[in-house]
Point group: C2
Chain length 170, copies 2
């Protein structure tokens, strides 16, 4: 059975939506996604680095549109693993575990990997929004469109703009 | 540079020593390692399952003899990753992170992986005490002797009885 590796932040969880909400809450600024194209995620937000270190940031991330239904489908068809680079933010470890239990209760603990780098992760398909993760992966590479990666063109990636598109491919 | 994957419990951290201490504390029983040969780890201890779920169990594990010096050496020579199956015990996630920061401060967050199953972990060398982890690994397999694995004979494993032996091989 094919091993499918799915990233959390920016793929299953809508990090931009949360950062926009937190920025508005703290500074009153209404950030527009159009201004973020091609910029590193946290550089788009004046208080981005502060917000991702806040207790509860990862626990309360909104679910990416269409991801629950699609991942339940992929989970029935493939050997699925959720692989998230949470180690930079140690507060996020338990928050990510609890977030998955709430929103994706069909994912078992055996299927979860929280790491620093993804250089030792292997499988047949990887769905991720970051080139730094995809570039070390030897299988099929699906880049999930997010503002920070919109301008990247790489012929080794298949670009997917939504979970509906992923379901059509996999 | 070769990727070396090192397990925590039973390899870097002395789980048996901790379980023996906790058993003595709770029931007064002095467990002897000789009685544990070939038995699954937790089945050797009347209160083993309770103890591994206790807050602080993983944070206070004693360091395996010789592991600090040896891992510092391996870290200077190889692309080293610490891969631990902590997901079954969500309390352990932060405890394992803090334990590594205390006892192995030269290991960076990029080098840490906390997972459920190790089926998606790849590399050139794996040092682990569990066949269930080694058997999915395509590189060189070093089995670190612990009472539960002492009777296992498998020609695809290289048995190592101490960190000194690992340094002679790697």
């Amino acid at each position: 059975m094919k091993k499918v590796i799915v990233d959390m932040d920016g793929v299953m969880a809508d990090v931009y939506h949360q950062l926009i909400q937190f920025e508005k809450r703290d500074s009153g600024t209404e950030m527009k996604p159009d201004s973020m194209t091609g910029k590193p995620e946290l550089e788009s937000f004046p208080n981005g680095k502060k917000h991702v270190n806040e207790v509860g940031f990862f626990r309360t991330l909104p679910v990416m549109e269409g991801s629950q239904k699609a991942i339940e489908y992929l989970n029935s068809k493939y050997d699925l693993y959720i692989v998230s680079a949470g180690m930079e933010f140690p507060n996020s470890l338990r928050e990510k575990y609890d977030w998955l239990a709430e929103h994706f209760p069909f994912i078992t603990w055996e299927q979860i990997v929280l790491c620093g780098s993804k250089k030792v992760v292997s499988g047949d398909v990887m769905i991720d929004d970051y080139p730094k993760n995809l570039d070390h992966f030897s299988g099929q590479r699906l880049i999930f469109t997010q503002p920070h990666n919109e301008l990247i063109e790489n012929e080794t990636y298949t670009r997917v703009n939504s979970w509906e598109e992923i379901m059509e491919i996999l």
